[in-house]
């Protein structure tokens, strides 16, 4: 009874004002993270300015768990560039290198073929059925820089969602129980 009574007392002693202040600071942190993310999307011109490398198809250059910084400009797509693209019907973007470019005379439209450095064959097997080339609208960005190992956090949280819940749960508990 004593333990329960103490817990009830401590809950009652949380002032409404303090709770609101904490909620607002939490909201501010989340909102500023969102602002930074959207600003990055704007500046880099790509829907997804940072991606995590998930497969070994670009080894030894890009290992699983590296993150890539993307940039999309109106510059024409040229052979050798490392591009990130989406295949219709699949939601995971692929990061491979362009090995063939055919650019139309007048319209500037372009047919592109890609291949992973570590793959024996080009990507036609990965494209949608009957698709032989990629076009500009498939491409989300060019890789311009990279950092190793940072992406492992995302990979672990996606492949073992339990860790995500544990993390959020602990953070929530910390927020509630801290006294400032």
């Amino acid at each position: 009874m004593g333990l329960v009574g103490e817990t009830v007392d401590s809950i009652k002693s949380i002032q409404i004002r303090q709770l609101l202040t904490q909620a607002i600071s939490l909201g501010m942190i989340v909102t500023s993270a969102l602002i930074i993310w959207k600003a990055l999307i704007c500046v880099t011109g790509s829907d997804s300015p940072v991606v995590v490398v998930l497969s070994e198809s670009m080894e030894p250059g890009f290992q699983r768990g590296d993150i890539l910084f993307l940039h999309m400009s109106k510059d024409p797509i040229r052979a050798g560039e490392i591009v990130v693209f989406n295949i219709d019907g699949r939601d995971i973007p692929i990061v491979h290198r362009v090995i063939m470019v055919h650019e139309r005379e007048n319209t500037g439209e372009v047919d592109v073929l890609t291949k992973g450095d570590n793959n024996p064959e080009d990507d036609r097997l990965l494209y949608a059925k009957g698709q032989l080339w990629l076009n500009r609208h498939h491409i989300m960005g060019r890789a311009v820089g990279f950092l190793s190992y940072v992406g492992w956090v995302t990979i672990i949280m996606t492949e073992k969602p339990i860790i995500k819940y544990i993390l959020i749960g602990t953070l929530g508990l910390l927020v509630i129980s801290s006294k400032d």
Partner: protein, 167 residues
């Protein structure tokens, strides 16, 4: 103020900031390196030049590629990806680039090389425009750093051409 939580938080923030700073500096240092790579490509032989059954021209050739890319390697270089592409113009397409051969150069010791090889990837046109076509062979290189910004450049070697008739 001195609880474990605060200290751990401060330590973590500081170390992440310091790491990010070091990565940025490492990347910047690449801008100061002097680079003067050189290369030469000869076409040894046109092996096959035909029209595929579904109407696109295809060429198979043997190349003699020699290059010295040692100056591209800095302390922040993880590997250099080099490839040779044929570039040409056709009535329908203002630019065609077809990669013929590529290699990953992992370190400075392997950066000066000479090889004779047939094209690794098929040289197929969109159409049948290749008879008598003049084209450039370019050697491109992409430097992939240990961290930071990647950069790329190329050497263009003009003046190659294909035979006027299928073979």
């Amino acid at each position: 103020m001195h609880s474990f939580g605060y200290r751990a938080n401060a330590l973590l923030t500081f170390s992440v900031t310091a790491l990010a700073f070091i990565c940025a500096i490492a990347s910047l240092s690449d801008n100061f390196s002097n680079q003067n790579p050189s290369a030469e490509i000869q076409i040894l032989n046109i092996n096959r030049f035909k029209k595929q059954s579904y109407e696109n021209d295809e060429v198979s050739l043997t190349l003699d590629i020699s290059a010295d890319l040692e100056s591209l390697f800095t302390w922040n270089t993880k590997q250099v990806f080099a490839f040779v592409a044929a570039e040409y113009e056709t009535p329908k397409n203002s630019l065609n680039q077809v990669s013929l051969w590529d290699a990953i150069i992992p370190d400075k010791e392997h950066a000066k090389f000479r090889i004779q090889t047939s094209n690794k990837y098929r040289f197929i046109d969109q159409g049948h425009n290749l008879r008598g076509k003049e084209f450039n062979l370019t050697l491109h290189w992409h430097v992939m750093p240990k961290t930071g910004k990647m950069f790329a450049d190329k050497i263009v070697m003009p003046g190659y051409s294909l035979p006027d008739a299928y073979k």
